[in-house]
Symmetry: D2
Subunit: 184 residues, 4 copies
């Protein structure tokens, strides 16, 4: 079993993003068979189809980067009961031009993260609907809805809650198994 | 009955956007009681919560503009079975800072536009989920899912299909009535 | 202002249903302008379009009952991330035959109730999508996602949690105002 | 490669159901490696959690039947922008009692069928949300939204449209490959 490279996308740009902190925790907790690396998305201009013929350099670099990865992991807050624009933009940029999507066939997983009560359920499932179209076989179970995210981290932003660490360790093991299972 | 100012948001940036052409048609077909005006959204930087304290000039101008309007109309394609990033970004920018949303209480309507077969259903309903949170009372009926959009326009991009013109005329009458009905 | 009759639909059939207990609490906490009454739905045969010509007696009685009401309130758990079959069945039965829907135009509201963590978010929003088609103007804010429902009730099933009582009192006041606002 | 038994669920009870006719077509068009069989669901009493301890005979027979199958295929209309009650009921019945779900791990696929324009998109994706919770790895591509279903059938209800026959033949080949890919 070779190491799989997992591109991680964080759906928030703020410096102290809870989602980014959870992405770091997931990298730490993942089994040795997975190498997680955050792919930055905040620099991507808003997707415009007129760019398809002559894409901005940021689009080219982003697409080339993700195309090489084995799997895609989304760690995201919920904005207005849906996917944050910054993450949807990365999805849209990666999906084009038509027929050249970088997402096609890569095993996916979603961790939604919220300081609130409902754990980003709306963002999680809206993202899943896009991943149907993009042909990303997405892990169904376990689902990961992280509520009260701020209370699970210490002052340095490290995930300290033992129950959540245990859950996310199991989550990443299940994801590693899912990647093996659906890899072509 | 005074004229109501309706801010129109177009969910596509490409020059020959079908949605923009339909937005123009809706402005033409609307009853005299509604004054439609497209509010541009492509210039808005990707939303970042760290901007809340000192927002970019584009955010300030956008928020001031929408705050003055009486109602909000969304005309949008579907990207990857959901709302295009450019439109979700405008939604997110207008919703913040917390407690200062420009959307609150403004009567809304959605026209999804697609050259394909399913009329942007996915984008239409994902947008509706955001509008629940944003407290935008959104017209339920008629729904507007425009399929085969390219075949309804002439070479100059004008909506020429008689059935669609009739449907959208009724749609805008219903929206005018909805605005009167739910206005506080 | 006359009293409005509000039909209440409970999305669970089990005897000790949390949703039913919350429906009772909502009846108690509602302002005097609203008269809430639970409409039973467990006796309705599974909807079959072949019944449209000669409907079962249970369908006729249900439709006649709801048609007289001024507003519709749904109190429901989530089953498998969506609306329980028993509630979807009542929706489907009430919506037919084509053109004779009993739901049309009646102001609606949704309270989702769960012993789990995410407050029935999935059921809440799937139900909202149906209510678009059914032309039920549904209150957007406040949303009501009740998590940990079992811990909010006493041994007799009475809602005792002060914070939840206060929230639901405000919720019902907002709903009364919504009914006034959108009533034709 | 052994033959896989695929349980087919039809989301409509009417005698002349388009979905049932498409289920028959899918059985005919499927590759030899798949044996499709319709599992009836109209006889199942509305799910009630109080039945978990002593289930009706119909529940027992249904659960025993599906448990033996290798894969699950849903062919369904859309009722009120969501899953018909009869199909949601089968989902709910099969999912319980807690920990004894018959759906767990079985490769799934969804064909939504509609005489209307938007091809049952709402039902298709609401069903997908339930299948996340039920841990049914569901084929992402191709998606199948059948619009104008009535015009694709002949007077005997046989699927005669060549383009649709070709599409569904490819669909079933893709589903057969998906079953092989995710089978544990």
């Amino acid at each position: 079993m070779t190491t799989k490279n997992v591109a991680v996308f964080v759906g928030s740009l703020r410096k102290e993003s809870f989602s980014r902190k959870f992405a770091h925790a997931l990298r730490e907790l993942a089994p040795a068979s997975l190498a997680l690396d955050i792919v930055e998305i905040g620099q991507l201009p808003l997707y415009n189809q007129d760019y398809d013929a002559a894409p901005p350099a940021e689009y080219v670099a982003f697409r080339d980067r993700v195309r090489k990865d084995d799997a895609v992991l989304f760690v995201t807050p919920e904005y207005n009961r849906s996917v944050p624009a910054v993450l949807k933009n990365a999805i849209d940029v990666g999906s084009r031009p038509y027929g050249k999507s970088v997402w096609d066939g890569k095993p996916g997983a979603i961790v939604s993260v919220s300081p609130g009560a409902v754990g980003g359920f709306g963002a999680n499932h809206h993202l899943r609907q896009s991943l149907v179209f993009l042909n990303v076989p997405t892990m169904q179970q376990p689902e990961a809805y992280i509520s009260g995210a701020d209370k699970l981290l210490d002052a340095e932003g490290k995930l300290v809650n033992p129950g959540t660490r245990e859950f996310l360790t199991k989550y990443m093991l299940a994801y590693a198994a899912w990647i093996e299972r659906v890899a072509k």
